[in-house]
Symmetry: C2
Subunit: 128 residues, 2 copies
């Protein structure tokens, strides 16, 4: 593609921020390698590269909660993506609307600030 994205700074990966286009809520962050970005552009559905499993995956491939791409933004340094999406269900594998369901206080304490929308084992199976 004509634009030169800087994959080198992150060892071949770019962070991709996922934001709900309608509500403005930040839903999650994942990493993309070149292949994940190409798949995302081609299919219109968000794909990531998993740093833990070391493989490409489509968000929602198990749960059905895919992320439909509306707009992709790149930052000034061309090393971060912001993707506005139409989410087809709650995003977090823990059962919350977003992965950012906890706030961190100055003393390190966490508070859950979202409601649990589904039980992970019912969507992802017993291994979840």
């Amino acid at each position: 593609m004509p634009v030169e994205l800087n994959f080198d700074k992150g060892d071949g990966l770019l962070p991709a921020i996922i934001q709900d286009a309608k509500t403005g809520k930040v839903l999650m962050l994942g990493f993309m390698n070149k292949e994940a970005l190409e798949q995302t552009l081609q299919t219109g559905k968000v794909h990531f590269y998993s740093r833990t499993r070391k493989k490409l995956w489509m968000k929602g491939e198990t749960s059905g909660h895919v992320l439909e791409v509306l707009d992709i933004y790149i930052d000034c340094d061309a090393d971060t993506l912001l993707i506005k999406v139409n989410p087809k269900g709650p995003v977090c594998h823990e059962g919350y609307l977003s992965c950012f369901y906890r706030t961190l206080r100055k003393d390190g304490e966490l508070t859950i600030v979202e409601e649990k929308l589904f039980q992970p084992e019912e969507v992802y199976g017993k291994g979840a």
Copy 2:
């Protein structure tokens, strides 16, 4: 701090998404090491670790456009932060409100979608 953040996955760094608390606009993404997060918590102003310059810095130390912290969220895997802020000026060193001032089309073409609010050399000096 009591919460165990996973700094290992990113070689000692966590991505931190910066979102305007009032407008919901995603302004930028930076990386934090433990020290940057501690400084952020202690001062209430966003600090990052620069991967390029390999040093801690406070956003706005040159421009005055500091990011006042309102709330910090951590994600399900405890390896990403979302920080809601009150920004004291445009965030991008290129002179835009946010660093995500360009959209990426499927064919790789970029379109500028924000208005330039300042000339970088007037804020950062001739080296900008």
